[in-house]
Point group: C2
Chain length 126, copies 2
Amino acid sequence: MGIVRKTKGVTTILKFFNQKGEATSVVHLIDLLKDKMNKTTVYRILDRLEHDGIIHSFNGKDGLKWYAKSIGCSADQHLDEHPHFQCTKCDKVECLPVEVKIPTIKNHKIDSTNILLLGKCEACSD
Amino acid sequence: MGIVRKTKGVTTILKFFNQKGEATSVVHLIDLLKDKMNKTTVYRILDRLEHDGIIHSFNGKDGLKWYAKSIGCSADQHLDEHPHFQCTKCDKVECLPVEVKIPTIKNHKIDSTNILLLGKCEACSD
DNA sequence: ATATTTTCGCAACTTTGTTGCATTAACAGT
DNA sequence: ACTGTTAATGCAACAAAGTTGCGAAAATAT
């Protein structure tokens, strides 16, 4: 059912994702909000927001969960199949507005993709 | 430095990867070998084998670490940039011997890729 | 205003992965 | 084959990410 009530926590997290365009790890978000709300609450709000298609999740380079605001995606339609880029030096993640062609694999029905590109971001290169 | 000594544990794990062609999660391997060796040892042997390019690691769909035997990859040359497929029903992972074209991203130097395709494997797609 | 029901906070727990240290086992040199 | 050196192991304790159950608090419906 996703978000049903507009609580203080929901408002705070929504504002966060709307202001900061970038992706965030759950760990970072919990730390950021540690004086305002409990980590369990953060996990649960993120769940609901993702379920509603407002944000989307993916795994960063060390298996940590990350979230970012969705674009072109609703509760019924999760079109958000874009790759992500993570800097191996500063850990920053960016959503990449490009499409990656996935070859068809015999005998396999591919439902979704999880593409993470690793390298140096603009600030960290050289 | 990778593997220096051929211990009982190394032999066991090497045999495992040579017989079973498929990928394995560390969790599964630890459980499988729990009577034979300590989980710390499993983690450390996997580290060394990966460092030597004998196996390679990647993250499964829930961020868990997986390993599989490497093909065409040595201690100096890690060419193993293939995508993986994981079944969302039975969790099985396969290495895909295909190449995925990654578009170049402006101002980003991409060093490696981490591509996980999710769907139903042959056995699970009824 | 009050009843209903979702959401929250807290504490306790689970799971994955790591670290330090004493003991054990490879193996190189004789 | 014996012995010294050093890598590798086991163990226990820890750390971090994420989950669960439950009573209390706060949204929202009536």
